[in-house]
Subunit: 146 residues, 2 copies
DNA sequence: TTAATTGCAAACCCTTTGCTTCATC
DNA sequence: GATGAAGCAAAGGGTTTGCAATTAA
């Protein structure tokens, strides 16, 4: 029931979006109420509880619009299907190599030194630091199976 | 003609690899001689110059083996097809949002503070800092079209 | 009323895989 | 020779798209 992110997402009137359909509301609600970084499939499954006929295409189309408006971030790890993050606060991610889950961690990253900036072959907009390892859940399971 | 990376890749005897076929040699040669972070398709196109009948499946199978042996890194940015990097030296990447190209930049990243480490929900193996923006080539082109 | 949005299904792209043939060891 | 690896083509998974029907404004 984390409500911190609910506000910004729900309040904004994204420019790509023209009508607030039931489907869109439900998708936004799911995104705003989770810190799980769900995949499109996972969002679909959850929204289906409320709107059993919603199609996966609608999920993707809405995600596109929310991405275009910067209300949602796409975090993808290799070939395993994109995950979506509606947390507007600056934060970093911890990726589990075993299960593919993604966890929020406090914002991390020092501003690029002029040294680095000078060596970027272009205009630098942003930077991101990601963390990798094996999550507690997987560690626990591994120990259990041993 | 950058030869720096050619050595480690060419010298190692990866455990996944049992026979050094002409195809594998050619793929390794392409990877070792570029800093372009080619996609599988791009590797295919280049190797084809030498071995016109090589199939895309062979490219992928070899990349898998090289990945498994840690001789190549996969760097993927969203949905645009994985890119492969055989540069063994520590370094970071600059991703162009416009064209999708990936450029090497000097290694970047400060060691995680105990503070951060403590907040990671699992065992931290590694971290990575990526840079995003628009590359010089695209900036130049945009100016040209204006 | 009317145009944005949906549902459906087919199409797409990138990657993987099964199977037969080839060629390295 | 044996067997790992290649070529080919079909299958897979995730995502996008065309089109007719729906529905918010």
């Amino acid at each position: 029931m984390e409500k911190l992110n609910a506000k910004p997402l729900a309040d904004l009137k994204p420019s790509s979006v023209q009508r607030m359909t039931r489907q869109r509301q439900a998708i936004i609600r799911v995104l705003a109420s989770t810190k799980e970084h769900p995949t499109a499939e996972e969002i679909h499954a959850q929204v289906r509880d409320e709107l059993p006929d919603i199609s996966i295409g609608t999920i993707y189309r809405n995600l596109q619009m929310l991405l275009a408006d910067g209300l949602v971030q796409e975090i993808s790890l290799g070939r395993s299907g994109a995950r979506f993050d509606a947390n507007q606060q600056p934060h970093s991610h911890f990726f589990c190599r075993k299960c593919g889950r993604v966890y929020d961690v406090p914002a991390y990253g020092t501003p690029p030194t002029p040294e680095i900036t000078r060596q970027i072959p272009g205009r630098l907009d942003s930077q991101r630091t990601d963390f990798f390892g094996v999550c507690s859940a997987c560690l626990k399971q591994a120990k259990h199976n041993a």
